[in-house]
Symmetry: C3
Subunit: 143 residues, 3 copies
């Protein structure tokens, strides 16, 4: 049994909404910047964002932009020094954050590996993989 | 004060959506299969699923089926070797998973004990019950 | 690195829905009543509830009242001995619960300090503030 540590944040990213995805990446990047490990276990709508083009603005409905419209949100993010989702995800990977794709989601939602951005995915796993990561993590969240 | 352990997963199941309920049961079963204890504290829409007939397909709207239709989802679940919600819940109980029904939810949402599947519910409790379970759990999630 | 403890509950309150807000406050108050520390890190729609008037009934749509109508929910809450959101929040503060407002949310959603109920907010912080609180918390949830 791995010892409990405060040194890892393990997120289940179940939702694919703009604000939830953004929160997950900001949390992961924050943990990494503070010397923790970070794992995102992507399931259901969260995994859909890891499909090719899944982060494209066109794939996000207007309600995903906080009810403000895409242009306004992007202007405010820029002004606040917040990177785009693409940039946040690139930072996450560069800082050593890991992404695990849920194999059961792939089967149920009909997502095959070739449709996923495999450059962003470190491993494909099932619930056992998640439990092993989470049980040694100081911070566990379902987003 | 109980000592912090990696040996329990304690979930608050607040949502009653098909994909969230499925995730909770798969997580619980995964934890149990790996030798951990598991507790589901069922509140609000999550508790409604523990009413008699609460897992019936007819009670789940089409949007609860991943936007794919009930038949397609069931076919894919079967192909992926994923059990139905009924079977996942039966497995959860057989593996020793516990379900605690939130008494406050029952009062606010007007759910009485006789309408609940008491064969699946181990205890009725309030927030103090939850806190006692969660504070000794290595994995805590709000689903 | 702070040592892992069972003595704090740290919630991210991302959602602003009636039932989620109520759950967060009941959880926080429960933890405090049992001698734990509690922190609510308010982001996105959760932070909007900390605007002046953000807890007013008129600001909550009918779907936020469990599909039952405002009057019915309030009657049931009263009968169940559950305080109003205003009262739950006042209790939370009196018991020593802390609220941290997410600065990034303020910039992206265009919320300025003067529009927030600063009497309820203990600090303004970024993700680093959250990670520091959460990594020493026994219970971490994303609501």
């Amino acid at each position: 049994m791995p010892e409990k540590s405060s040194e890892q944040m393990t997120l289940i990213l179940h939702s694919g909404e703009f604000d939830k995805l953004m929160s997950a990446l900001i949390l992961g990047n924050g943990a990494l910047a503070m010397g923790m490990d970070a794992v995102i276990f992507a399931t259901f709508w969260g995994l859909e964002r890891f499909k090719r083009g899944g982060l494209d603005c066109g794939k996000l409905s207007s309600k995903h932009f906080l009810g403000l419209g895409r242009w306004m949100v992007h202007r405010r993010m820029k002004r606040a020094g917040v990177a785009s989702l693409d940039r946040l995800l690139a930072d996450y990977k560069e800082l050593g954050g890991r992404v695990i794709a849920c194999e059961m989601t792939m089967e149920i939602m009909g997502i095959d590996r070739s449709s996923l951005r495999q450059d962003l995915i470190d491993a494909f796993g099932a619930v056992g993989t998640y439990v092993n990561e989470a049980r040694q993590s100081g911070i566990t969240l379902f987003i």
